[in-house]
Symmetry: none
Subunit: 194 residues, 4 copies
């Protein structure tokens, strides 16, 4: 799955440590998705096929683990945001980015926790993560506004809050369709007529 085709045999493979780190991240994401943010750290380690000590070596605190878990997804969304900036239609660019965010939650369920973390205002990590998302969406929104396509009614942060909040309901049956519908309605509602 993650096997990087024909990796050249490194000398001093500290690669096993790197592999373990990845395993821990995968296990954490999976377990957080299922058991929520209170997942037992030992269960994470076991699911990764490692000892609890190893988990702690890699991630001394629960927060560090969580940040690492979601940084990858956040990074991907940031990247998508940059791509979306070059979409010919600014509104489409924004909409597609929002869909991507939702789909990311839908596909890799653990993702929701990144947002969940965002809720905890006090945590420095939450601030960092949500800050990066805001940095991703703000330009998209600004571009559409500057192009005269959207009314300047809501901030990027608002939209993010909407997506994040709605996605927290992802356990409801049919939530994904609902959220897509709602977000589309929201964006449509912001569009300048004609």
């Amino acid at each position: 799955m993650t096997k990087p085709a024909a990796a050249p045999p490194r000398r001093k493979t500290r690669s096993d440590a790197a592999r373990n780190r990845e395993r821990l991240l995968d296990a954490a994401k999976a377990l957080i998705a299922v058991r929520g943010a209170d997942a037992r750290l030992e269960a994470v380690a076991r699911q990764a096929g490692l000892g609890i000590g190893t988990l702690y070596r890699h991630f001394p605190t629960r927060e560090e683990l969580y940040e690492a878990v979601y940084r990858r997804d956040i990074d991907q969304l940031v990247l998508l945001g940059e791509e979306a900036m070059s979409a010919s239609d600014p509104v489409e660019g924004l909409r597609s980015w929002l869909h991507a965010a939702i789909d990311m939650v839908a596909t890799k369920k653990g993702m929701i926790a990144a947002f969940a973390l965002s809720t905890d205002t006090t945590s420095a990590i939450s601030k960092r993560l949500s800050g990066r998302l805001i940095d991703a969406i703000d330009p998209l929104l600004a571009r559409a506004v500057e192009a005269g396509r959207l009314r300047d009614e809501v901030a990027g942060e608002d939209l993010l809050l909407a997506v994040v909040g709605m996605c927290m309901m992802r356990d409801q049956p049919g939530w994904r369709a609902s959220v897509l519908r709602l977000i589309d309605s929201l964006v449509s509602g912001l569009e300048v007529e004609g």
Copy 2:
């Protein structure tokens, strides 16, 4: 509960128990607001000035306590829903109900937990509570649609999900304004032109 008013010269009147029950509910709402749904039951009892044993006598399970805590708020929203049905403008009726729901979260912060509970699909109590909210909003939405004022794009459940989700972000600074703005945009976006 079982023995209604007109209490005979009993030593400790039933009203003691009733008062304790109320105290427990208030304490629970307050603590859930502050510490989240994981509030310690003993802290709830102490905040109510009662012993933990008394809490357990009144509410044998955490869920029963929570349901009781939020039933009152839910009841109020249901009532507001009925009133909103007689608003002259159907869209205004819907919008005002949504605002009321949001304000309830804003004012009595604990309220959010009712929604939070709604997330836990597995719980019978959650189903009951969210079911009642859907029963409150559906007629409002239907009336506006039937009056040709709103497009039939989203279900009441969708809207509820939007409100609930967004309100889960209530720890963000300025969340209330954000949510009101977003919900208004959402409703506006659904309005039939002209």
Copy 3:
């Protein structure tokens, strides 16, 4: 020993809680004597025939437990100090108090930890405990000095340090005789000739 002759049968005996508290203190003293200050708290609880939770209810922190454990002994030494003040011979008064302190360590071995704690200068508890001991010895020493029987060469704190330090060696075979000998030599050395 502590049984308060003919205590009237209290109504709501919270006496079992008090008994448990005593049991915990006894168990703690015994275990600290054997295993040192790192005694496992669960072992203390078990030795007291109680659950670990009960220990934590009575003594939320290890320090609180330790302070309680030694407060009784310290109290007794303070009391002995007051009695020793009325000894006809001031030097004998001082010497007897020092012997009592040593014997307390010899008899109830755990006692040493009170002194051991004294070592940790940073802890408020240590300060409190050793402060009380200094308050006990200072008057004894001052009286002997004022009576012209001892040279004003060492402070009460010094003597205490000597006793405490030497007693920390109590695991050496024959330590008690050694310490008594040394302390006696010390006091003799301070005596004014003739």
Copy 4:
């Protein structure tokens, strides 16, 4: 860093290992001084700029490390003892040796642990270390007694116990002056009247 200029064609010379050994000993002494005898072995290794594995290679057990750490100091005290035997005044010889022992604790704080170890009667290492100290002090004391200068009241072991114990209090402010004063009083008290 480790490559000592003009290295002969050996890859890693034996001196590397010897240097590492010294580094470990220094690090251990420093850390024990600060954190006490429970210092974490990994911290020792890191402070020495080495891996934990290297520490274990040199000192398979904690005790072996500690013995090595203090053997140097003990050796020095033994040497000083031999010198003190040739002091013209036997009492001065004894006194100076005791001062040296105290100053060693005062100067190289870690030294105290050697004494602390002595407390653990069960350990063979402790026995060895304290045995050597007794071998150093006994002749000094015997000489003074035989010269008719000191009463034969205390054994060398007693005196050692006094010094060791008092030095365990070295965290108290002003401990050094206290201990010197006390030890001097002790020796004076043993002196045969002129």
